[in-house]
């Protein structure tokens, strides 16, 4: 497929050959999908002519030659996990966007917690009415990929934590892809004063190129907290797009971290609405790229109420001909006095052909606020390198130490400490790959 995909064909092309999902029993869902279908077919894929897609071109998606969709059997022991042994008891596995009950294990959930497949929840399993939530947080203009997801979604990760329930053990969501396009839709509802940790892991199954178009809606009630950590280690030829829409009520906290090292083209878009006083969000991430990889982190934080705060730190390491993109936007609305927003993007360029494009943006309509942003790009500090070399450390190791240190402080600041060793291991793994792959 070398021709550009026409807007009107977008649903057929990325519908994975299956009939569009239908739920005749749920008229609200039907009308939600119909609206999204119409918008998606009218808009087509976003292009760099659109300001929010200025630095990310979806041409590779249009040209993507899908691999084979059926990966064959996989055993539970092959599942990637970030959690220490014995902690991965709560696990939901999605293969090409569909819930796989055989691989999943979700025993002994406490009272007041529903975790499982969105398809089952829509069918009435769990006795929870989704009409008031699904499609209510997403919405608005300029969301072509979210519309595509809404039009074609049928399954995904569902979590509902009732008021006052605090889950200390993480729930793992593992997404495996092979050879086709899929559109998983996540929905996380945290009721008042609840707490949970969700760890997402995205990986390939070795079935050739695929396209994962994730959509996720998250609602965080008053004083509730969600820690949402994601490791994106998709197959080398995969395309990964994710769209996360979050709303946070008074005193609630949304804490997000993304480690991206896979996929040839990826974009992680997080949009948070801080809707009531005291709402808070932390959006952090690191990305490590090489070869022709392209990774885009786009965030929007809307401060809609007074005394809301946001913190963002994104760090990237770019090697070879890779390209990193950071677009961060903080909007402080008129009534959001005493808001506090900080944003930082730092990048190490390890190669002469790597490229970094950053657009840290502030849009402020209130006067009593504290907002700042910063962005840097450059090579490793030659003085630091010299310091290590002077102490007899070989250049390659010295570089690794500095890169590791550069990324480590973002990881070490995570609230869920149990995950840090696994994330650091992931960084170390990426660095040692570089050592073997490097030309002499």
């Amino acid at each position: 497929m070398s021709e550009a995909v026409a807007a009107s064909d977008i649903l057929e092309t990325y519908g994975a050959g299956a009939a569009p999902p239908a739920s005749p029993a749920l008229p609200w869902l039907e009308s939600l999908r119909a609206g999204a279908r119409a918008r998606a077919a009218a808009a087509g894929l976003p292009t760099p002519r659109q300001e929010t897609w200025k630095y990310t071109n979806l041409r590779p998606l249009e040209k993507l030659a899908f691999g084979t969709p059926s990966p064959g059997q996989i055993g539970a022991e092959r599942l990637p996990s970030l959690l220490p042994q014995g902690q991965s008891a709560r696990r939901l596995v999605f293969v090409n966007g569909r819930f796989n009950a055989g691989l999943s294990a979700c025993a002994d959930l406490p009272e007041g917690v529903r975790a499982g497949s969105l398809a089952e929840a829509l069918d009435g399993g769990g006795g929870f009415d989704l009409a008031g939530h699904l499609g209510r947080i997403a919405g608005g203009e300029d969301q072509a990929m979210m519309d595509l997801n809404t039009a074609l979604m049928s399954d995904g990760f569902f979590l509902h934590v009732e008021a006052g329930v605090q889950l200390d053990q993480p729930i793992e969501a593992i997404y495996l892809g092979a050879g086709q396009a899929f559109h998983p839709r996540g929905l996380i509802i945290m009721e008042e004063n609840s707490r949970a940790i969700v760890v997402e892991h995205h990986d390939g199954l070795g079935g050739g190129a695929y396209f994962a178009n994730h959509g996720c809606e998250i609602s965080i009630g008053a004083q509730a907290q969600l820690r949402h950590y994601k490791v994106q280690a998709e197959a080398d030829d995969a395309i990964h797009l994710a769209n996360v829409r979050v709303k946070v009520e008074a005193g609630g906290i949304y804490d997000s971290f993304v480690l991206a090292r896979g996929a040839r083209l990826s974009r992680n878009e997080v949009s948070v609405r801080l809707e009531a006083p005291g709402a808070e969000c932390h959006l952090n991430g690191i990305y490590m790229l090489r070869g022709d990889q392209h990774c885009d982190n786009t965030t929007t934080v809307e401060h809609l109420a007074p005394e809301t705060s946001s913190r963002e730190v994104f760090k990237g390491v770019l090697d070879d001909r890779s390209r990193g993109v950071f677009q961060g936007k903080i909007v402080v609305h008129k009534d959001a006095q005493k808001s506090d927003g900080h944003q930082l993007s730092k990048v190490l360029l390890l190669s002469d052909r790597a490229e970094m494009d950053a657009k840290p943006e502030l849009e402020i309509y209130a006067d009593d606020v504290k907002c700042s942003h910063g962005a840097t790009a450059g090579d490793l500090d030659p003085d630091a390198l010299f310091y290590l070399r002077a102490r007899g450390i070989p250049e390659a190791s010295a570089r690794h130490m500095l890169i590791e240190a550069f990324l480590a402080d973002t990881i070490n600041n995570l609230a869920a400490e149990g995950l840090c060793p696994a994330l650091m291991a992931s960084v170390g793994h990426w660095l040692s790959d570089a050592a073997t792959g490097e030309a002499p």
């Binding site: 002469d352 840290p360 006067d367 009593d368 962005a375 790009a377």
Partner: protein, 483 residues
Amino acid sequence: MAANVETIEQVQATEKYKYGFVTDIESETAPKGLSEDIVRFISQKKNEPEWLLEWRLKAYRHWLTMPEPQWAHVVFPPLDYQDSYYYSAPKSKSDGPKSLEEVDPELLRTYEKLGIPLKEQEMLAGVAVDAVFDSVSVATTFKGKLEEQGIIFCPISEAVQNHPELVRKYLGSVVPAADNKHACLNSAVFTDGSFVYIPKGVRCPMELSTYFRINAANTGQFERTLLIADAGSYVSYLEGCTAPMRDENQLHAAVVELIALDDAEIKYSTVQNWYPGDENGVGGIYNFVTKRGACRGHNSKISWTQVETGSAITWKYPSCILQGDNSVGEFYSVAITNNMQQADTGTKMIHLGKNTRSRIISKGISAGRSQQTYRGLVKISPKAQGARNHTQCDSLLIGDTCGAHTVPYIECRNRGAVVEHEATTSKISEDQLFYCRQRGISQEDAVALVVNGFCREVLQQLPMEFAVEAQKLVGISLEGSVG
């Protein structure tokens, strides 16, 4: 006592826009509207050579196909290009003035009101002024003295006649005719502007200055400035602007091109005080300006300093293309918006040569119901080894009905480059105000004091004469924005 009088004057001045008078001068205008005929008319009026007419027509035809730029954070009704005059010249005897004595005395009085007494300036200030009134250059002072050093400082229409080889070589070489919709329009209908050429190794002995004024109703002003600093030369250039108060919006689409060759340095300062419209946003100038400088030579330097207080809408991005190795670009900006003003301004630093350096300091102050945006691009090309950029943009908000936005674009394609960007947004702290009030300083003066401190880094970059004026402007522009 003296300070008191000054305050009263200032307050009186701000009740009405100080420069909002209309000068009653007979002027000669082309018919309203825009067409190929108008372009030919202007070219013929200026007695231009064939190549320039062709260049204008090509720009005009391209302009017709270009869409309006939509990306800026400003709102205004679509422009009606046909409802404006594209040529308006003060009627003079025949050939235009040869010296100050021949300039219409009414016109000279206008400039006196503006605070540029040309005669006195010739004697005292040592500033050479080229004054542009509506569409044509009316007087250039100090021409003789500059000629001794081989410096050419004259209206661009004159340069077309006398130095066609220089104009032809450099015109449009930094801002191509098809660059953007407004620059393209300017290329088609530009009427006058300044031309400066500093020969090799010459350090211009005085500040060169241009004064722009839009007088006639319904005219657009399309001046074009071309400044060439040959190898090893230095020049400092000042530009000031005003316009009368009118209820309709007037378009000002200027183009400024700077070229710095090896080891040359250009310092370009602007104090822009076009009529901003009244407090309800009626009237005012649409200031859509394309300014760009090319550091063509090694070790060359271009420095932009701007104080933007006027205009209903400002759309302006003075930029530097750093082509020569070790070249330096600087951008210092203070932008103040009050009432219903909108400003979308910033800079572009394009690093192409090795060890190129750029520095951006932008201070934005918004008050009233104004909206202000800093929009900047720092681009490091793969060959710009050792390039260095530091950007600092700070915004100050006065009142809760205004907006301040920052949109920096950073594109880095060289690992040996260091790019840093920092931005903050804040308001005037209660403590600072309290401290001043406690010492008997009025609320408004205290605000002006704090804001002047906030902008100091930039105001310091201005030449002396302008720095004083700019400091006063800062105070005046913010009148009525507190309490």
